[in-house]
């Protein structure tokens, strides 16, 4: 286990930080705070570059576009806002969700945003056009959507109803896997073959995408009631996940 060292710490002064996101090449960093603001940072020099204000409630998630010209964010004010990075002005405001929007992602070309909400729906927003309604709404989940991952042709959603759903756009199939525990976060490995699921039973589970079989279960941290995220390093060798009690945990996959 390699030691993780803190490179930099910066004071956001945003009360609770709901999400921290790097942009596409890792040169910028976004923090979503409970103070209804999004802040754009230069993480190397701990510089605050811009503050984006306009949400009416806590900002729960944000994502930068592939050309780093736009930011899309979602909030518990039920709205999704598309921001212009340079001017700091909201370009669009989508109000299609009936409840807090918990997670949001751009697709690869940043032409479409996918948001998941407490109203159990996943909505596709067309960022290119001026359309205000969602292009498509997925209503398969029976409880809150906790996370979304978008690849070039797949959308992975995890939900509090203990299901992980993978929507394959090419095949036109929806694969729903019952996990048995509340899934707080799901991510895909770099090779796109496995899910890594953070479950509420203080485990991280590794699933095979094709067969739906469990490959490994990682324990040792505590999740409590937190919505802990996980990620995998670029070599697919380690999983990093959050923990409620101690520090960030690192797991060896294979």
């Amino acid at each position: 286990m390699t030691e993780l060292t803190t490179l930099a710490t910066f004071q956001c002064k945003q009360q609770v930080i709901r999400a921290v996101r790097f942009n596409v090449d890792g040169t910028y960093c976004l923090t979503c705070g409970a103070d209804k603001k999004i802040k754009l940072w230069n993480p190397q020099r701990q510089l605050l570059l811009k503050t984006y204000g306009g949400h009416a409630n806590e900002v729960l998630d944000a994502a930068g576009s592939c050309d780093s010209s736009q930011i899309i964010s979602c909030s518990s004010d039920k709205s999704v806002i598309l921001w212009d990075v340079t001017t700091g002005q909201p370009l669009r405001r989508y109000r299609g969700h009936a409840s807090s929007v918990t997670c949001i992602k751009f697709n690869e070309e940043s032409t479409m945003a996918v948001s998941g909400s407490v109203d159990n729906t996943v909505a596709f927003w067309d960022v290119m056009s001026r359309r205000q309604e969602p292009v498509q709404v997925l209503k398969d989940a029976k409880d809150t959507i906790t996370s979304i991952q978008v690849t070039d042709h797949e959308v992975l959603t995890t939900s509090v109803d203990c299901h992980v759903r993978l929507y394959d756009l090419r095949m036109g199939k929806m694969t729903s896997d019952f996990i048995g525990h509340i899934v707080t976060f799901g991510s895909l490995t770099r090779d796109g073959q496995c899910y890594i699921l953070s479950c509420a039973d203080s485990t991280v589970k590794l699933f095979d995408k094709d067969s739906g079989e469990i490959l490994n279960t990682f324990t040792g941290h505590e999740s409590k009631d937190y919505l802990l995220e996980n990620a995998v390093n670029e070599k697919d060798s380690h999983i990093i996940c959050g923990s409620a009690t101690v520090i960030i945990r690192q797991r060896i996959v294979l």
Binding site: G172, D177, F178
Partner: protein, 855 residues
């Protein structure tokens, strides 16, 4: 035409008519501009700008300096006799006259300088700090007086201060206007006015002295005098100003006098040449008047008549006014007292009254008129006892029994509730009525069926509502329902459609909301808010097997569910993923292209092909349906009906009209194909195995058709030719409008045209494809038919060959599988033919005319 002419004579047109819109033109919102409007012109109507740049400056005669020479160059000349005069050029030399006008860039009008106009908001003046600080005294004294824009405009129109606005009046009219001006508020009653009129006349006579010389001059009207309300500062009654104690000479006496300068004598002597008229306040009741019995009147100088000479005519008249002493001037005392305003006490409401909107529901989609109530609110109005009785607990327990609201099931509520509630509360509390036990709220548990009870779209018609409810329970119930027999078939279909829509309309809400709510895992314990909330896990739609498998860690097949999911087209586009199943554009193509042609509106009832065909089917198809449908191999149930119906039509119509051969060829093919298909299928009725073969054959034929039948000219000719010989056999064009020709077709004799055409065709025609000809008697045709290729048969031979041809020609047109596309092709073809036939017509016309001329 004569009508139109007379219209033009009668009507008067104003303005320029707009250009009529073209048929397929989209009207723009741009204002219509005539070319002439687009030039800028000067005051004289001359075009202002011209030259190379139409919109730019231009110099030249007409709108330059004003000289005929325009810009003539000057040379410097100086001689001993004439010294050159140095003339400096001023900007005005280069200006047009308009520029110096009122609205030009350098107006030459006397006007107040900006500082004095008072128009602009005064800048706060800055005072220099001299020995005397502050605003200069002179500036305080002298203020720039400014006028409002309205005043300036009025001035420009010739108004002067002190005058009124409006048309100039003669002195008589002015006087009249003045009289009218005096009426404020109420209008003078007519009898009073009549009383006044003679007085006016008299006044006029009096004034005639000064109006004699200017009877034909006009005067400006009087200025408007605002009716100023003066403050009341005495304690007299309203409208009464007490006799002020002026002395005759005008000095106030006693308490009234406050300022000597302001007082005027009430007795004014006017010398108008003839007699001295003295007017004054309360001057009228003379000392010798009989009816002066005002005992409270105080003796005053003004009581005396000061009129010198002349009869006392006026006092009499004024007495009329004075009789009604305490009435405002201009008012009369009412002869009858006003009836007192009646006041009625509010009626006592019955005990069980619930306020509701008057009247029943106006539309069936209106929500129920019953007062919507929150479930929770109603609950609080019930006492514990009432709730207990609701639940059927006979004896209320000594300890307060609490009934949690979740236990109140809607069904048990409605079982026997009415009487206890109403008796306890004296009015309807929660549930609307006894008869229909309907719920005002939707319980989450039983959505679906219960909903239909809540929403009653057809309340107005109880029988229909009953049918609707039955329909909601079982969609097929209506078909075998005895109640429906009363309705006609059409009505029944209509109603089913209506029910479908209503069910659709009222369901989705629950469907939508159902997704967003889950059942409470625990009873909502209203009593104990501090009870710990146990965590519950929502397993979604997981089956028990899945739960078990997940518990054992046996993930895989059991826990996985793969369902079809169709991404939206736009989503696919944005993700750069090919859309599944290709693009769904076929639907759009299926829509008929709407043509906005006049002809499509000539016959409104028939312009829809489908409806027309359907009607045709209704008329004639009923006889032949029973034989047909069973024999059809698969999806071709429609064609035989059409075919048979059209056959019937031909029999009916062929005798009556002969003009059907212009556009029929396309449809002829289609229908005959169907007929033959019918025949064949009848043959194959017993031989089930051969059915597939015929289908194959038809598919081949389809290919054949697509290759050969597209060139329509020859076919057209052929069919025409055929119709000459035996047009009784040709089925009629289904779409054909059989109504007598009208409009521009009214005077065209189609029969003649067709007759001419037939003969013409027979002469001209050379090409024939026998495989396209229509069989004369398909009834007898039994053999599988063959195609005949090769060169066309000469016409003279054709007649001889005919019997053979009849037996040999094959019409294996019409495949079953690609009927739709085939129809489209036909339509296309028929369209083409229509165009052609139009052309033909015009040619025929010309030719027929020339023929007539020849004759």
């Amino acid at each position: 035409m004569s009508d139109a002419d007379s219209d033009e004579e009668v009507l008067v047109q104003y303005g320029t008519p707009l250009e009529p819109y073209e048929e397929d033109d989209v009207p723009t919102k741009r204002k219509y501009q005539q070319p002439a409007d687009q030039y800028a012109v000067d005051a004289h109507g001359r075009r202002r700008f011209h030259g190379a740049f139409t919109g730019g400056f231009s110099a030249g005669f007409g709108n330059t300096v004003g000289t005929p020479e325009g810009w003539t160059p000057t040379t410097f000349k100086s001689s001993r006799a004439e010294k050159a005069q140095f003339s400096g050029q001023r900007p005005e030399d280069f200006m047009d006259e308009e520029d110096r006008g009122e609205f030009g860039i350098a107006p030459q009008v006397l006007q107040t300088q900006n500082d004095f106009s008072g128009q602009k908001r005064q800048r706060r003046p800055q005072y220099h700090d001299g020995p005397i600080p502050g605003e200069p005294v002179l500036q305080q004294l002298v203020r720039a007086v400014h006028e409002t824009a309205a005043v300036r405009m009025l001035r420009a129109m010739g108004w002067r201060e002190g005058q009124g606005t409006g048309e100039r009046l003669s002195s008589k009219g002015k006087k009249k206007a003045r009289e009218q001006h005096k009426v404020y508020g109420c209008y003078v009653p007519p009898e009073l006015r009549q009383n006044q009129e003679p007085q006016d006349q008299q006044d006029e006579e009096e004034d005639s002295s000064d109006s004699e010389f200017d009877f034909d001059t006009l005067f400006a009207p009087d200025d408007y005098e605002p009716y100023l309300l003066s403050r009341k500062n005495d304690r007299f009654g309203l409208g009464y100003s007490g006799l002020s104690r002026h002395s005759v000479l005008g000095n106030l006496v006693g308490e009234y006098g406050s300022d000597a300068g302001s007082s005027r004598s009430h007795l004014v002597m006017k010398d108008k040449g003839r007699k001295v008229n003295i007017r004054g306040q309360a001057f009228g009741v003379g000392a010798f008047e009989a009816d002066d019995d005002d005992i409270y009147a105080t003796e005053d100088m003004s009581h005396y008549d000061f009129t010198i000479g002349g009869p006392a005519a006026k006092p009499e008249r004024k007495a009329v006014q004075n009789k009604s002493g305490n009435v405002l001037p201009g008012f009369v005392k009412a002869s009858k007292p006003l009836p007192p305003v009646p006041s009625y006490p509010a009626p006592a409401l019955p005990r069980d009254y619930t306020p509701a909107v008057a009247g029943a529901r106006r539309t069936r989609f209106e929500p129920t008129a019953h007062k919507e109530r929150d479930q929770g609110l109603g609950r609080h109005e019930l006492t514990a006892k009432a709730r207990g009785e609701l639940l059927g607990e006979e004896t209320p327990l000594p300890t307060p029994v609490t009934v949690t609201p979740t236990n109140i099931q809607p069904n048990t509520q409605t079982d026997k509730p009415k009487d206890p509630i109403t008796s306890l509360l004296g009015r309807n509390v929660n549930f609307t009525s006894e008869k229909d036990k309907e719920l005002n709220y939707i319980s989450i548990k039983d959505s679906g069926k219960e909903i239909t009870k809540v929403f009653k779209p057809f309340v107005g018609n109880p029988a229909k509502q009953a049918r609707y409810e039955r329909y909601c329970e079982d969609k097929t119930a209506l078909e075998r329902d005895g109640d429906m027999d009363k309705l006609s078939e059409w009505e029944r279909e209509r109603e089913i459609v209506e029910f479908e829509q209503a069910a659709k309309l009222y369901k989705p809400l629950t469907g939508l909301m159902g997704d967003r709510f889950t059942h409470a895992a625990q009873p909502d314990d209203a009593l104990n808010p501090l009870s710990a909330v146990s965590k519950s896990v929502n397993h979604g739609l997981a089956t028990p097997q899945q739960l078990q498998a997940a518990q054992q860690g046996l993930y895989g097949v059991t826990t996985r569910v793969v369902t079809d999911w169709r991404p939206d087209g736009l989503v696919c586009k944005r993700f750069n993923v090919p859309e599944i199943g290709g693009r769904s554009e076929q639907k759009k193509e299926d829509k008929p292209k709407v043509s906005y042609s006049i002809f499509s509106y000539l016959e409104s009832s028939v312009h829809d092909k489908d409806s027309f065909a359907k009607e045709q089917g209704n008329f004639s198809g009923s006889k032949s349906i029973p034989t047909a449908p069973k024999t059809q191999p698969n999806d071709k149930t429609n064609t035989p009906i059409e075919a048979t119906s059209s056959k019937d039509d031909t029999i009916i119509q062929a005798t009556t009209s002969k003009e059907n051969n212009l556009q029929t060829s396309g449809f002829t093919k289609r229908l005959t194909v169907a007929e033959i298909f019918l025949k064949e299928s009848e043959q194959n009725k017993n031989q089930g195995a051969e059915v597939t073969e015929t289908i194959n054959k038809f598919d081949k034929m389809d290919l054949y058709k697509s290759i050969f039948l597209s060139d329509s000219e020859e076919e057209e000719d052929l069919t025409k030719k055929n119709e000459v010989s035996d047009f009784i056999e040709t089925p009629k064009n289904v779409e054909r409008n059989t109504s007598p020709p009208r409009g521009i077709f009214a005077n065209i004799d189609f029969d003649e045209l067709n007759a001419w055409r037939r003969t013409d065709n027979t002469k001209k025609e050379e090409t024939k494809k026998p495989e396209n000809t229509i069989l004369e008697d398909k009834q007898e045709k039994s053999e599988p038919v063959e195609e005949m290729y090769g060169p066309k048969i000469p016409e003279n031979l054709q007649n001889r060959l005919k019997p053979e041809v009849k037996t040999q020609t094959s019409i294996e047109i019409g495949s079953s599988s690609s009927e739709d596309s085939w129809v489209d092709a036909n339509e296309l073809k028929s369209k083409k033919k229509k165009k052609k036939s139009k052309k033909h017509k015009s040619k025929h016309k010309k030719k027929s005319k020339s023929k007539k001329k020849d004759k």
